[in-house]
Amino acid sequence: MADLTSTFAGITSPNPYWLASAPPTNSAYQVNKAFEYGWGGAVWKTIGAPVLNACNRYGAFEYGTHKLLAINNVELISDRPLETNLREIREVKELWPDRAVIVSAMVESTPEAWHDIVQRIEDTGADGIELNYGCPHGMSERGMGSAVGQVPEYCTMITRWVAEAASIPVIVKLTPNVTDIVPPARAALAGGADAVSLINTINSIVGVDLDTFEIRPNVGGKGGHGGFAGPAVKPIALHMLSAVAADPEFGEGGLPISGIGGVQTWRDAAEFLLLGASNVQVCTAVMHYGFRIIEDLVDGLSNWLDAKGADSLADVIGASVPRISAFGDFDLSFKSVARIDESSCIQCNLCFVACDEGAHQCIDLTVDGARIDPAALSSDARPQPRVREEDCVGCDLCSLVCPVDGCITMVPVESGRPRVTWNDLVRDRSDVTTDWDAMMAYRKETGIDIH
C-alpha cells in the first residue's frame, strides 16, 4: 500500500485531498463531518470583510442529461460573523490535530487590515493561511479578490504584508481570469509566499432561461458574471498548472502548488499530481455528491499508485512536467495514422462524417473493400469505414468520436524523416518559415505530401 501522507509547504495531512475554500467549508459542522469521512484537510471558506449575499447564487452547466458539469456562482465570501468563524476554526483544529486546517482570507487592501487578520487566524491554531486573490465577483468590485490577483504588483505587495506578519505558511490562490497566469505566480513568489494554489473560479455567464430570457442564476430578474468551477474547467486548470509548474523562474523558488479546478475523481487528482501539484483541493464534486466521495478518492489513488509501483505521492508528483513542451519544440517528423479495428467496428460511421466534413477527408466508406459514394448509398450492406493511411494527417478526430473503446487507435509510423522542430526551421531554414514557395520546396525535398 502506497503512503498517501501529504506534506504541503510544511503542512501534513493523511492524504492529499483538501476541501477547497467554498460552501462545503463554511462551518465547523461541515468541516467536522468532512474530517469524519476522511478528508485530509480543509481550507475554510474565506473570512474577512462584511458581506451580504444574494439569491439565487448558483447556476448549473449541464450537457444532455449530465448534471453539473460545472457550477457558476455569485456567492460571496463567508457571510457569518468573523468571530464565529474564528471560534469554530479553533474548535475544529483542536478536535483534528492530524488534519490540515487552512484559513482563506480576504480583507481590505491595507497593511493594517492584513496584519490584523493574520494575527487573528494564527490565534486559532490554524496550519496555514490562503490569500484569496481569485474571487471574480462581488469582492473584486471592492478592490479585493481577482482585482488583486490580476495585477502582479498588488499581488506581490499584499503577499509581502501577509508574509511579514505570518509565522504559518502562506498560500496564494491565483485567479485564472488573466491572459497568463505565470506573472501572478512569480509575483506571489516575490512577495514571500510559501506556496500557490490554482485555479480559482473562471468568469462566466452560465446560461439564459429560454422561457423568461433571464440570466442564470437569476437574481430578481437580473444576472451577472459569476465564478465557474467543476469538471468542465479541469482542462483549463491543468493548462495553468502546467504553465506555472514548468516556469523556470517560478521553479527556482521551489514553491509547492495546490491543484484546484474540476477534481471530481481520483483520476483527476492523479493528473494534477503528475503535472506538478503537490496536493489537490475539491469543491464542486462535494457540492454535487457530498463528503462521502473521499472514500474512492483515497482508495482509487492508492490502488493506482500501487499499480504504478509508487511508494508515495512523491514518486508521481510532477512526473509529467518534463513532458510539458510547446508547439515550437514539437518533433514535426513524428507521424501517426488512424487504424480501425474492423472486428469491433459497429459501422456507426461517425468517424467517416467527422473526417469528411470536420477534418481532412481520409476515411472512405467501403462495401466489400470497394470505395463507395457516400452520397448515393444504396446497398443494403452496411458500409465499412476504412482509413487511407497514406492520406491520414494523424489528427486523431476519428478515434475521439468513435463510441467503441479501442476500435480506432492512433498508430505511430515511421515517417522516414529526421527529427525537426519549428524552432529548428526558424533557426536553420528561416525561408521555409516565411515563404510559401520555400515551404513547398522543403516539403518536396523531405517527402512531405499533404493531400
Binding site: 444532455g64 442529461t65 459497429i346 456507426c348 467517416f352 462524417v353 470505395r371 452520397a375 452496411r382
Partner: protein
C-alpha cells in the same frame, strides 16, 4: 362461462397500455444514448424511412415538436407505429448498438414524441391550398388515412369512405388495447382530418355508394379496404353458441376503452377457451380471453411451433400470460351440448417436406382424432378477400388481392390500391400500410399533375446524412483516390 366477476378496476388495469409512457427524463436519457450514426441503418430498416437519428437528436435537444414533425413527415401513422411496429424486426433490429450494446428503444422514443405533439394540439404542417382535384379513398385504416393525409398536404381533396362507424381500421378495432389504446388511433384520425381530409363513416362502398359513382365523381380512387371478415372454418358445429370470431372479440375491448370499461362485464368469455389460428390476431384474442378471466386458453394450430406467423415477442408475451399451445392440431368439428360449445374435435397433423411456400406440409394422421374440451371457440384464421370490390372497380386481382405495380397503380389507370388488400406476401404491418398510402399519394399526385409538397424530401434522402446527393456541388464523389482530391476539399482550408 366466467365464474368470478372482475371488478371494474381490475378490468381497467388489465385493459390498458402495457408500456407506460416515458417520462421526460427517461426520454432524455435514452435519446442521449443514440450515436446519431451517419447513414443510420434504422432509417433504411423503417418501411417509411423515418429519419430516426434526426428525431431522436431533437428529443435530446428538447425540440420534441420538431421530433414529432420529423416522424410524421415520413409517416402520418407514426403515432400508431411507435406502439405497434415489430421494432426488433425493423429499426431497433438494425441499431448498431444491438450487437454488443443495448439498442436504442426507438419505438418508445417515437411514442414519446408523437404523444407530446398530439397532446399539444399543434399542427406542424402547412397544407397547400386545396385545388380542383378530388380523390376517393376506400377504407379509413392506416393505408387510407396515410394516403388521404398526404394528398391533403398537397392540396388534393381527399374523401375517405369507411364502412365502420369509427375510422382507423385495425388500429381502432383490431390491435389489442395493451399495445395501442383506441384513443391513439382516434387522435391520428383527427390529425388527418385537420390536414384537410374528409372522412365519411358508416358508408359501405358497393352498397351505400357504388364504385361507378366514385369513379365518375372523383379524379382517382385509392382502394385501402383491408381484408374482409374472418372466414368460416367450414366444419360442423360452427354455428353453436360460444363460437366467436377474433376481430369482433378484440374490438369489444377496444370500444370499452372509449365507451366505458363496464362494457366488458357483458362480454362473454368461456372458462376454457380455444383460439384457432396462430397469427398476431390469434395471439391478441388469446390475451384478451385470459385477461377477461378465462381459466385456460389454448391456441390450436395445425402446423408446428416454428411455422407460427405471429412474432416471437408476441408468442413470448402470450405464453407469459399463461396461454397454452396445441400444435399440429387440425380442428374438424365443434362439439356441443344443448346448443352450446362443449369441445373441439381435432386431428393430429404430421409435418412432411418443405413446400413451395417454404413451409413444411402438414397432413392428417389417420385415426388420430382427439377432443379438446372447451366452452368457447374463437376463430382467428385470417381474413377473407375482397374480390367483389375489386371487380366493381375493374381492378385485376391475384389470389384475391388487388394486383398493383411499384407505384401501387392497378390495372385501372384511375385506381390505386394499397395496404392489406394488396399484401400478397410478407407481413401485413401498420407501417407498410402507411408507406403504401404515401407511395399511392405521390403516384396519384403525379398522375393528376400536382407538384410535390413544399419541403418534401426525395425518397431515400435523410437529414441526418447520406443520400444527400440531390444537389450537385463541388464535393461530388471522386471514384478514385488518385483523382485530384482537391475537389472534395473545396472550401477546406487548414
Amino acid at each position: 362461462m366466467r365464474e368470478t366477476a372482475l371488478t371494474l378496476d381490475q378490468l381497467r388495469d388489465r385493459f390498458s397500455e402495457t408500456n407506460p409512457p416515458y417520462t421526460a427524463h427517461e426520454a432524455a436519457v435514452e435519446a442521449d444514448r443514440c450515436l446519431y450514426c451517419f447513414d443510420a441503418p434504422c432509417i433504411r430498416a423503417c418501411p417509411t424511412g423515418i429519419d430516426v437519428p434526426t428525431f431522436i437528436r431533437k428529443i435530446a435537444t428538447g425540440n420534441v415538436t420538431g421530433a414529432a414533425t420529423t416522424i410524421l413527415e415520413s409517416n402520418l401513422i407514426g403515432h400508431s407505429c411507435g406502439r405497434v411496429c415489430p421494432v426488433d424486426e425493423l429499426c431497433v433490429g438494425s441499431c448498431v448498438l444491438g450487437a454488443e450494446h443495448r439498442p436504442i428503444a426507438i419505438g418508445r422514443l417515437q411514442r414519446y414524441a408523437t404523444d407530446a405533439l398530439y397532446q399539444s394540439g399543434h399542427m406542424p404542417f402547412e397544407t397547400a391550398p386545396e385545388g380542383s382535384k378530388r380523390v376517393a379513398v376506400v377504407g379509413a385504416g392506416p393505408a387510407g388515412l396515410s394516403c388521404a393525409g398526404e394528398l391533403a398536404k398537397r392540396g388534393i381533396g381527399a374523401t375517405v369512405f369507411e364502412k365502420q362507424e369509427l375510422p382507423g381500421g385495425l388500429s381502432t378495432f383490431g390491435i389489442v388495447v395493451l399495445r395501442e389504446p383506441i384513443r391513439v388511433s382516434l387522435e391520428e384520425v383527427e390529425f388527418i382530418r385537420r390536414l384537410g381530409a374528409e372522412i365519411r363513416t358508416g358508408v359501405q362502398v358497393g352498397q351505400d355508394v357504388t364504385a361507378a359513382e366514385l369513379l365518375s365523381s372523383y379524379d382517382a380512387v385509392f382502394l385501402a379496404a383491408g381484408t374482409g371478415s374472418v372466414p368460416d372454418l367450414g366444419i360442423p358445429g360452427e354455428d353453436l353458441d360460444g363460437v366467436t370470431e377474433a376481430l369482433s372479440f378484440i374490438a369489444e375491448t377496444k370500444l370499452a376503452e372509449k365507451d366505458g370499461i363496464e362494457r366488458l362485464l357483458d362480454l362473454p368469455v368461456g372458462k376454457r377457451v380455444i383460439v384457432i389460428g396462430a397469427g398476431n390476431t390469434a395471439i391478441d384474442a388469446a390475451t384478451v380471453a385470459r385477461r377477461l378471466g378465462a381459466e385456460s386458453v389454448t391456441i390450436a394450430y395445425r402446423r408446428g411451433d416454428s411455422d407460427m406467423p405471429a412474432y416471437d415477442f408476441e408468442v413470448a408475451f402470450v405464453r407469459n400470460e399463461g396461454v397454452d399451445f396445441q400444435f399440429l392440431a387440425q380442428p374438424v368439428e365443434v362439439l356441443g351440448e344443448g346448443g352450446r360449445v362443449s369441445g373441439l374435435r381435432c386431428l393430429r397433423m404430421e409435418l412432411g417436406d418443405v413446400g413451395a411456400d417454404g413451409r413444411r406440409s402438414a397432413t392428417p394422421v389417420q385415426g388420430s382424432e382427439f377432443v379438446l374440451p372447451c366452452d368457447q371457440v374463437i376463430k382467428a384464421i385470417g381474413q377473407s378477400k375482397l374480390e367483389p370490390l375489386f371487380q366493381a372497380f375493374g381492378v385485376d386481382t391475384e389470389r384475391g388481392y388487388a394486383r398493383v405495380d411499384e407505384a401501387l397503380r392497378t390495372s385501372n389507370p384511375k385506381v390505386f390500391a394499397g395496404g392489406d388488400c394488396v399484401r400478397l406476401s410478407g407481413h401485413a404491418l401498420t407501417v407498410t400500410a402507411a408507406q403504401d398510402g404515401k407511395i399511392a399519394a405521390k403516384a396519384i399526385a403525379t398522375a393528376l399533375g400536382v407538384v410535390p409538397a413544399e419541403g418534401e424530401l426525395p425518397t431515400g434522402v435523410s437529414r441526418s446524412g447520406a443520400g444527400r446527393a440531390s444537389k450537385q456541388h463541388s464535393g461530388a464523389f471522386q471514384p478514385l483516390r488518385s483523382a485530384p482530391h482537391a475537389v472534395a476539399k473545396g472550401g477546406h482550408d487548414g
